[in-house]
Amino acid sequence: MLETPGGQDYLVKVENVTAGYLSVKSFSSLTKTFTPVLRDINLSLRDGERVAVIGESGSGKTTLLKVILGLLKPVKGRVLIEGLDIYSSRKAWLRAVKKLGYVPQDPFKALDPRVKIKTSLMEPLETSRYSREEVNRLIKEAVKLVGLPEEVIEYYPSSLSGGMLQRVLIARALINRPKLFLLDEPTSSLDVSTQAQIINLINKIYHNYKMGILLVTHDLAVAQYLAERVIILREGRVIEEGFFEDVILNPRHEYTRLLVKSYMMEPI
């Protein structure tokens, strides 16, 4: 049986996942060793739930997103999207991945510099059979939704600022009306004033579409605005999880305590 009891309730279910990368240890014998990045991770997300994964660099945050997106096969455990194991077949993966909208970390690197914004926005629609008029309409809608002027679609990425590129990436992620938004440090490379604009935008979109959000960040304060539930990741393990307020007011793990303390306003 594929589904666990009640498994259908969950949009995404990550079960006992251990994943990592192979590295060549010695070049003379070309022996490869496995370095685990995620160790025995369990995570489940309901429809429309907003969860933040917090961790320092190297804690495995981005690897977790890769595993959910179907880009890195775990060595142990499985990933279910709407009850479907995405690593069971290519067909299952293609079906599942349409439900996900991914916003990558660095807006300056995430768009193909050789093509116009329009072409980049069209890409997610290629797997669905839309007519040319429908595609144009969807693109215009998406661009309007993220608050960009319509003529932007004729520009190349190099002529847009970081904040505008981030809006384009959000538009690209939501053009398929995904059920889950995967945000990888959506604001870390932006200025504070642009950061606030993007946070407000994501919240506005959430209130319109009620899609789920899986946010990966190292910034607790940003997570506070975009998520209700928080998972603290450290060295590839979940060390603490719960509702945002509970974790902040009552951190149980030493690391979380330190993290919360570093945001407090008192002078050093």
Binding site: S57, V192, S193, Q197, I248, Y255, S262, Y263, M265
Partner: protein
């Protein structure tokens, strides 16, 4: 009160391909007192790094200057002329954004210290003692001296870079975005380290950052920059709690703060491109408190020892 750094009408620009000057820093009057941590805050493109590099003496050759910059009584910039002889690396020292890039990958940490310390006429034994003492205040052991930079973690590299700046005996340290590549929980430690360094060595630190909350925690005085100008300057607590300039107020309001979930203000639009010159206020388009007058009128006022570049600062609204 001894002034470590003082500028009068300092403007710095860069030449573009057609030999036109893009003014990045415009008409800045700045006074950094001896022994304080002075913070330049602003968003990218506001000219904070350019201003910082003019203090450290690392302006690129294609830059153009106007006005005056004085460091410990020595005039280093006088209009187009620049002379950092005896100042760069002696009076002032620069800690770049990426600590790893400032260390030579082929030299042990000790050799890098030795290269700096032997300039000061120390012999090898006293130099070693000096290096060990500096590393100790940065909570690094003597063992670090035998390592190559790539064998150290990012945080250790950064502390070594700070240590090397201290070893020069410079009185003014310029740190460019020291926390931008550091995790949240380590930022606080790093800021504490800067405070310790200031207390132990009596140096003046010019800190460049875009994080206004961090600036408020660690610094004595803050200068908020916008479009190449210092729009507000004052002691950090009053600038953060009772901002006078509309931009400072919005800058504080857009930063997400843990603990209380306020509505994030949104500053419409984006900062002007560097090089824009006009008579009135540069913040006009984005300012919620703007007036017709602002388009061609701006004046610098001094209120409670704070300088603000706005003809109608937010005095009444913030005190009432």
């Amino acid at each position: 009160m001894v002034l470590a750094v003082e500028s009068k009408g300092l403007s710095i620009g860069y030449l573009d391909e057609e030999d036109r000057v893009l003014w990045v820093v415009k008409n800045v009057d700045m006074q950094v007192r001896e022994g304080e941590i002075y913070c330049l805050v602003g968003e990218s493109g506001c000219g904070k790094t350019t201003l910082g590099s003019s203090i450290a003496g690392v302006l690129p050759p294609y830059s153009v200057t106007r006005g005056e910059l004085v460091i410990y009584g020595r005039r280093v910039i006088k209009d187009v002329l620049r002379s950092y002889e005896g100042v760069r690396g002696k009076l002032t020292s620069y800690i770049p954004q990426n600590p790893g890039s400032s260390l030579s990958p082929y030299m042990r940490i000790w050799d890098q210290f030795w290269r700096v310390l032997r300039e000061q006429g120390l012999n090898e034994k006293t130099a070693k003692e000096r290096a060990t003492a500096i590393l100790k205040t940065l909570s690094l052991g003597q063992g670090v001296l035998e390592h190559y930079p790539h064998e150290l973690s990012g945080g250790m590299q950064q502390r070594v870079a700070i240590g090397l700046s201290l070893a020069t005996g410079a009185k003014v340290l310029v740190a460019d975005e020291p926390t931008s590549s550091v995790d949240a929980n380590l930022k606080l430690q790093l800021m504490r380290l800067f405070k310790d360094v200031r207390d132990n060595y009596g140096v003046t630190i010019v800190l460049i950052t875009h994080d206004i909350l961090l600036a408020g925690k660690a610094c004595d005085r803050i200068a908020v920059m916008y479009a190449g100008e210092i729009v507000e300057e004052g002691d950090s607590t009053s600038v953060l709690t009772r901002p006078l300039h509309p931009y400072t107020k919005l800058l504080v309001d857009v930063v997400p703060m843990l603990g209380f979930k306020k509505t994030l203000a949104s500053i419409p639009g984006e900062p002007p491109k560097p090089g824009l010159l006009r008579e009135g206020c540069y913040f006009y388009e984005r300012c919620p408190f703007r007036d017709e007058v602002c388009l061609n009128h701006v004046e610098t006022q001094v209120i409670d020892g704070r300088r603000v570049k706005c003809w109608k600062p937010l005095v009444d609204k913030t005190t009432s």
